[in-house]
């Protein structure tokens, strides 16, 4: 009866669009600031060169793929703290196996870890925060033992290198992989029963269950997908770095969560658009690169990083009335 009235006329954006618009505006602001800086200090416009931007997107692809998986898990109201070592373990096992089986192995490891997470959360109903933390510790232990057990091969295969670092028509392959993953995730979330169930679980699991939705299966599948995407990111990152190494996933967990949230998803689950996550990833990658261009010392970097997240979220909140 009043739907039309309730929307403020001047701002025709839905609540899910606002974060995306604000974050995009912030990305443009970052480009402006960074370019101004390089213009003044070096007389160049590094940031605006297409090659540079493509390179940033290439770097962003790894984070983007991790964040895509993380988003699925966050949408169902959970979190996956094991992606760090899922990623590393996949990469390490992929390179250990080598040859044509490298990539399937990496993905399988990610999938397996994700399945364990999903089973623990869906069947044992251990809070994901702590279950995935413990699984992370186990994976770390396994990989330390693995590295020490015998001299494992850590060099990436050519195919891994091609997917991560190769270019087709001047565009890094990693970007194609990220785009591919993104299309699949976006379609799954928007158009499929699986996607609908994910949102339903995130909003009210009991109601979804009583509606006869396959809640447990979907939880397991969401974690499995998250694990597999972390595995994919690991395979690619190993390709990009030509090798797998311990700790290679450490730098991806919190930024992935941050990207999802900056993209407007509710950290408690149930709402958020995939496009937002992509924008969040780009924002974080660009922020990092502008800070490194500016030679910002680590102390300042951390402070700015924290301040940006808070500011963005405050900006999303402003103008929205609280509903108790």
């Amino acid at each position: 009866m009043s739907a039309a009235l309730e929307k403020p006329a001047r701002f025709a954006l839905g609540p899910d669009d606002k974060p995306i618009v604000i974050a995009s505006a912030f990305i443009i602001l970052l480009l402006v600031i960074g370019t101004a800086y390089t213009l003044v200090t070096a007389g160049t416009m590094t940031l605006l060169s297409p090659n540079y931007l493509l390179q940033q997107l290439q770097i962003g692809a790894f984070l983007g793929i991790v964040a895509a998986g993380m988003m699925l898990v966050i949408l169902i109201g959970h979190i996956d703290l094991s992606v760090a070592w899922t990623l590393a373990a996949s990469a390490m096992m992929a390179t250990t196996v080598g040859g044509p089986w490298a990539i399937p192995t990496g993905l399988a490891v990610g999938l397996a870890v994700g399945l364990v997470n999903g089973l623990g959360v869906a069947y044992l109903r251990v809070p994901s925060m702590i279950f995935t933390l413990a699984v992370n510790a186990v994976m770390r232990g396994l990989m330390v033992a693995h590295t020490g057990g015998f001299a494992p091969q850590t060099a990436a295969t050519d195919l891994m290198r091609f997917l991560a670092a190769g270019r087709v028509g001047g565009i890094p392959m990693a970007i194609f992989v990220w785009v591919g993953v993104s299309i699949v995730i976006a379609v799954v979330l928007k158009r499929t029963v699986f996607g609908r169930t994910i949102y339903a679980i995130g909003n009210r699991e009991a109601a979804a269950y009583l509606a006869g939705m396959r809640t447990r299966g979907v939880i397991v599948a969401a974690f499995a997908a998250c694990g597999m995407l972390a595995g994919l990111a690991g395979v690619l990152l190993a390709g990009y770095s030509t090798k797998a190494y311990q700790g290679m996933g450490d730098a991806y967990v919190l930024p992935a969560i941050a990207a999802v949230v900056i993209g407007g998803a509710n950290i408690l689950g149930g709402s958020g658009r995939y496009a937002g996550t992509v924008v969040g990833v780009v924002l974080i990658v660009l922020l990092n690169s502008v800070l490194s261009i500016m030679q910002m010392p680590e102390a300042g970097r951390q402070i700015i990083y924290g301040a940006v997240i808070i500011t963005m979220l405050l900006a999303y909140r402003s103008g929205r009335v609280h509903q108790g």
Partner: protein
């Protein structure tokens, strides 16, 4: 409700988490002491206490936001920040030292207060707020101590990391620790006394204030707490502030223990993650509303005692992290056994 249940049974049932944490800790710890060549002796107890106390404090810091239904990802960072601050301030004349200590605790409190304000007035989820402010705290720590270093008063360092008798000796109390009445307690580690004092003087009374109970109420049902006329916003701010205080105490102790400050980012995140594990092992629900800081202390002790045992038993060095991970996984999965008993699947969702 055919026959009324005895009060003690009700109390026990409501505290199974805490009780099993204590049992688990005692089992591991007895094991350790029995096989330790100097088991059940003061030096061993002193060492164990020193090693556990910072994590115990940080675990308490984590508990309060968790009880409220939030999560504080900045506790390790705040601990690190205060550690760095203390390495500048806790030195000099007794007055300067006292001032330094107060400043450190105030800094933690102020940081927690800021967290609380962002959560309450900015209406941002605690977990995200503290993810961001944790970065800021690490930034400040790096700013305070770009490289590890600094100094903390040596007497203080020695006195607080040893037994009470050393404490008394250092400060010339109780006839230099020789007073007869003092002997029965002289063997107790000062760190342990500190921990118990913090629990008794801060946590226990706090829990019995209206604000303290409001924290539980908010974690249990925030809307209901508001409708019941409880000071919800104030309680949230208080929760984060107190969390900051506990984290600061952890950082302060770390500084006293190492007599230096170190803005170590991996260490900060390790403490944060361990604090969450400790809270869960201690029987506090991550959903909020039930549990206690005392449980988390035992959770922290469990985490520590697992690695104590690595020093006693011959576990191949490269298998240690794996064993540690598996024990942790097993411990947290124990909670999953409850699921087997649940006969009404709707109860799984609460």
């Amino acid at each position: 409700m055919s026959r009324p249940t005895a009060d003690w049974l009700i109390r026990l049932r409501q505290n199974t988490g805490l009780a099993s944490a204590i049992a688990l800790f005692l089992a591991f710890y007895l094991f350790y002491n029995i096989f330790h060549p100097k088991g059940f002796s003061t030096p061993v107890l002193v060492q164990n206490a020193d090693e556990a106390i910072a994590l115990a404090m940080v675990a308490m810091a984590q508990t309060i936001p968790v009880l409220m239904g939030g999560l504080d990802l900045s506790v390790g960072a705040v601990m690190t920040m205060v550690n760095c601050l203390a390495s500048h301030l806790v030195i000099g004349s007794p007055l300067q030292i006292a001032f330094g200590i107060v400043t450190c605790i105030a800094a933690g409190a102020a940081f927690g207060f800021a967290n609380g304000c962002i959560v309450v007035y900015g209406r941002i989820q605690p977990i995200i707020t503290t993810l961001a402010t944790g970065a800021i705290a690490i930034g400040i720590a790096l700013f305070l101590r770009p490289k590890p270093g600094g100094k903390v008063d040596e007497d203080l360092s020695w006195a607080l990391t040893n037994s009470l008798s050393d404490f008394a000796e250092t400060y010339g109390l109780f006839d230099g620790g020789k007073a007869a009445w003092f002997q029965p307690i002289a063997w107790i580690p000062a760190a342990l006394v500190l921990l118990v004092l913090v629990i008794l003087l801060i946590w226990v009374p706090f829990r019995r204030t209206v604000i303290g109970r409001t924290i539980y109420a908010v974690g249990s049902a925030e809307g209901a707490a508001f409708m019941s006329g409880l000071p919800v916003d104030r309680a949230k701010i208080a929760a984060f502030t107190l969390s900051g205080v506990f984290a600061a105490l952890g950082g302060l102790f770390l500084a006293i223990q190492t007599s230096s400050g170190n803005a170590d980012l991996p260490q900060a995140s390790a403490y944060t993650l361990n604090s969450i594990a400790a809270v869960v092992l201690g029987g506090t629900s991550l959903l909020g509303g039930s549990g206690s800081a005392v449980g988390s202390v035992f959770g922290a002790l469990i985490l520590r005692v697992i690695s104590f045992n690595f020093r006693i038993f011959d576990i191949p060095p490269l298998m240690q992290s794996l064993v540690e991970g598996l024990i942790l996984l097993a411990a947290v999965s124990l909670g999953g056994l409850r699921v087997l008993q649940v006969k009404n699947r709707l109860e799984l969702f609460r």
